[in-house]
Symmetry: C2
Subunit: 194 residues, 2 copies
């Protein structure tokens, strides 16, 4: 009957959840298995049971992000481009509110050169997907007349993505940065609300 929560234990999931918090606040190099095990109330080796190498944990984290992001895209598929952009802004807000975390692409691209190779591959694929999605929004936004901007959809989509990634990082030093930049991105895209 596998009553209640899970056929397999949920320890694996809880490890991923804690590791995610640590990744987004401290970065991959600056958290250890001890951080996770002490928070979870288990011994260090228990983490190694589920994720033998730290890179296994890292890859699993990114793969989960990719699955989530695909689900996020699918859920927003029916919305118009402007609303999709606002949904993306909402994601950024929730990172920021959660102890000034930054977005995964920000930490992964910043630490990219020090990541194990398997993580680099996964991270590059993930960031590619996000970038393509941003470009898709600006392309459709212009096509349906909702957005009006200078430059190509490709370039403005990448700038929007890049500006938001930077905004979350700067928000750690300057409280207003995220809101300011969100407002400015709307302005640049010719959207209401700035």
């Amino acid at each position: 009957m596998t009553q209640g929560s899970d056929p397999k234990t949920d320890t694996r999931k809880r490890i991923l959840d804690i590791a995610e918090q640590l990744l987004l606040s401290r970065g991959f190099n600056a958290f250890s298995y001890q951080h996770i095990s002490s928070e979870l109330g288990v011994r260090n080796a228990a983490i190694h049971y589920h994720f033998p190498k730290k890179s296994d944990l890292g890859v699993a984290l990114i793969q989960r992000y990719r699955r989530r992001f695909q689900r996020f895209i699918d859920q927003q598929a029916a919305l118009d481009p402007g609303a999709q952009l606002e949904a993306y802004f909402g994601l950024s807000d929730s990172y920021y509110r959660q102890h000034r975390q930054i977005c995964p692409s920000g930490i992964l691209s910043t630490e990219f050169l020090t990541l194990p190779e398997e993580m680099q591959r996964e991270a590059a694929a993930f960031i590619d997907e996000m970038r393509l999605w941003a470009v898709d929004i600006t392309r459709r936004g212009a096509a349906c007349g909702q957005m009006r901007y200078a430059g190509t959809p490709e370039a403005i989509g990448m700038m929007l993505f890049s500006a938001l990634q930077g905004a979350l990082q700067l928000a750690r030093i300057d409280d207003g940065a995220l809101d300011t930049i969100k407002r400015q991105v709307r302005a640049v895209l010719g959207l209401p609300g700035h």
Copy 2:
């Protein structure tokens, strides 16, 4: 007469130079005194002689950035805002060309929550100065009619700063990102060259 190069040895300076490369490619948490000493051909303790704690080295690095940046501003003071922006773009290019390094503000804001307190203070001041300078460019650019953009000078200045910081990070995964975003920033500011 302190002939030639230096009254004090230049070891201190060479340590800072090596540490700077390491900071911009690997981040503060991901480089060690061994990285520096092996590259420099001295023993570990020699680094500790010049910078007793790693945070001393970190603070010295940021202070040097701040001095350099002030000099950079002073040198560009006579140029028009558009040319100042291009000079800033040039800085970003040189980071990228140097083994895909990212800008100091990018690494410092990303690692901010794990930095020692003295470094946090210095980093926050540094990033503030850079942000104010970006805003100053866009403000004067609009005032003299060279730039024409939607939104306030404050917001567009921050977006430009943030987008460029993100662009250098994304360029580690996507080779064209930096050029694309530079071109788009010009377009958004109503400048020629896109």
